[in-house]
């Protein structure tokens, strides 16, 4: 198994991690298969929806409005949720969030907790900190359970274990659940997980979840899921803690009528996922009586100022951009060195965690635009990627190793050349002379030095024709 850390502070650069993952043919097959299946389902359901583009536009507008007045909507949510008997906590960073959660569990005398899949808790590496504080954590989403039992890392924001196939899951469950005779068909594996978790649902009295949406108008939380483990956790527990990024708020209850049309279609290719739960604070006689929301900043407020970066926070974590991404398809999620992978990870990670640690991520894209095309809230990911690239370049401006980097020198030179067409023509002629020694017997270039060698590692290059277009044009004009 290829295990690459998804801690952005320690992860290798994208090309490095990718190189390792590209050798894992099993993983690549699993990823390609899974993303193909979801993509096809998604495409079919989007095609049947004649108002899809209008819904994307509306979804983007709802999310943009929430962010434009984020302070107001957060306060409104807090007021409403509190009035309904819930408690709201604010955490500036991961450490503070972990401390708040540990405190709530301590007060509730909980030494075990059941969890619903939540990228936000993965972001703050909550499980590890709870375990080290002596709290036993049970992941209850099937994919999360696979990861937890296998000490693995999420590789997708919707289907975090899609890099594993049935045989791998069987071996894991057989070992960890002591079921030597377990079959390797998905129904048998699912049944094993059902039985394993059933007892936990009835026994463990504290639960942790994320939030798909926080509704400012009503102070409600909305959770979208498939398996019913979410309903189990959020209905049967006494103490429930929802950990949500501050960007998760939407202005109105009616906003769900748009986002609940686009999210399931984009995420899993379903008209609607099996279960959505919406609840507000505490309801006497139904569900937990000790209800907490932890609002997490953890770098998000830094993205708000500029509209170009702010759109990143519109994300509703549907995963469609991952499924469609031709780069993700080759490497899977671990190459992105963060729990947020794929195109959204490539823009979110460098912005949430200091850019220094994720400089290669904005470049982990061919800018093909497939992500933007499928995004249900119209985040222009390529636009953000190229903007972040410019931030990387600016940041390295005075960095010595970068001043002398081949790329920077090359780019500077080219920029100068392009400012004057005579200079450009001269450069064209020079290039022809420069490449001569590299032209092979068959008239093609097979090996180049320096950065260009990355090209010729896998591809040949036709030599520059003897006459450029402009030379031909000039000759033609002269003879006319």
């Amino acid at each position: 198994m290829t295990l690459i850390t998804v801690d952005p502070l320690k992860a290798p650069s994208f090309p490095k991690a990718a190189a390792e993952l590209l050798r894992d043919t099993q993983l690549r097959r699993n990823v390609a298969h899974a993303t193909d299946v979801i993509q096809h389902k998604r495409a079919a359901l989007v095609a049947e929806k004649s108002d899809w583009q209008a819904l994307r536009t509306a979804g983007a507008a709802i999310r943009a409005e929430a962010l434009r007045h984020l302070d107001r909507y957060l306060e409104q949510f807090e007021k409403q949720f509190t009035a309904a008997g819930g408690h709201v906590h604010w955490a500036s960073d991961a450490d503070e969030a972990r401390r708040i959660i540990a405190g709530i569990l301590h007060d509730a005398q909980a030494d075990e907790v059941i969890k619903i899949k939540s990228m936000t808790t993965a972001e703050i590496d909550l499980n590890r900190s709870l375990e080290s504080a002596g709290v036993r954590v049970y992941e209850t989403d099937l994919a999360e359970l696979i990861l937890q039992l296998g000490h693995d890392q999420p590789s997708h924001i919707i289907a975090p274990a899609l890099h594993k196939n049935r045989h791998q899951v069987r071996d894991l469950f057989a070992r960890e659940m002591h079921l030597p005779d377990l079959a390797d068909d998905p129904p048998a594996l699912t049944e094993a997980a059902r039985l394993y978790l059933r007892e936990k649902f009835l026994k463990v009295k504290a639960a942790i979840c994320g939030a798909n949406f926080l509704i400012a108008e009503t102070g409600s939380i909305c959770i979208v899921e498939s398996e019913g483990n979410g309903r189990m956790c959020l209905t049967l527990s006494d103490t429930l803690i929802s950990v949500a990024g501050i960007e998760k708020v939407i202005p109105t209850f009616a906003g769900l009528e748009v986002l609940l049309q686009t999210l399931p279609r984009a995420a899993t290719g379903e008209r609607m996922n099996p279960y959505n739960s919406i609840w507000t604070g505490v309801t006497p006689g139904d569900g937990p009586h000790n209800m907490h929301v932890v609002l997490l900043d953890n770098g998000r407020s830094n993205l708000l100022e500029k509209e170009i970066t702010r759109q990143t926070l519109q994300c509703i974590r549907c995963g469609a951009c991952l499924n469609t991404c031709p780069v993700y398809r080759q490497t899977g999620g671990h190459a992105y060195g963060s729990v947020y992978s794929g195109p959204i990870g490539a823009i979110l990670t460098p912005q949430l965690f200091a850019l220094e640690h994720a400089q290669s991520l904005p470049y982990a894209s061919s800018l093909c635009g497939a992500c933007y095309e499928v995004c249900p809230v119209k985040i222009n990911i390529p636009e953000v990627l190229v903007y972040l690239r410019s931030r990387v370049v600016d940041k390295n401006r005075n960095n010595l190793s970068s001043v002398f980097s081949q790329e920077r020198i090359g780019m500077k030179m080219m920029a100068r050349i392009f400012l004057n067409h005579e200079r450009f023509e001269k450069a064209q002629r020079m290039a022809r002379i420069f490449e001569k020694p590299f032209i092979g017997q068959d008239g093609w270039i097979h090996k180049l030095p320096g950065l260009a060698g990355q090209w010729t590692a896998a591809r040949d290059l036709a030599p520059i024709p003897a006459q450029s277009f402009r030379e031909w044009w000039r000759g033609r004009k002269a003879s006319q």
Partner: protein, 218 residues
Amino acid sequence: MSREAILGRVRAALSADRSAESSPLLSYPRTGTLNTEERLQMLEERLHEYDARVFHCPEQALAQRIFEVLSAAGRLRIIHPAALPTSWHAAQLDWTPDSPGLSYAEIEAFDGVLTGATAAVTESGSIVLQHGPAEGRRALTLLPDYHLCVIFENQIVETLPECFDRLKANAAAPTTFISGPSATADIEMTRIKGVHGPRFLDVILVTRPSNFPKLTFQ
């Protein structure tokens, strides 16, 4: 305190943008175009796609139909919300009204649960429970392995926006959208029905508007 710090950072970052005040103008179709019959038919198709079984009956035959469906499914010990109309109870079955004293383990042990609903959405094939008197607390429709849900014709809307129009009045109540039995596709994207919620969902569509006042909307 972090509350002030976070809100402060948010306000500082956004201050430049406040002048361009404009609430978004949203335009997307909100209402459906199907007639009652088409609406019913499509709902049925969608429910089938989600592996739910669908039955029909006129209102006056509801109790009989409930009996037939439950007994054919071999579900004899049934729990139900305390306020469920007693007229739905078929005499031959064993009925237990929910009460606060029932533990989750006890609820789980029933053969099935019978409830009404607040709305059903044709387009997405969803059943919506909103804590109404015939719906009860959420654990009821979660723990037993079998759920029989009665839906009246006038509760069926075509689109999600139409559904939210109906839910708005009671927005703060615990609300659950059920769109087929629980399922997972976490292993090789193969859809497996029945993970943690009820593995079996049956629906009775009552094809004439009901006069049961608690279940209708004005």
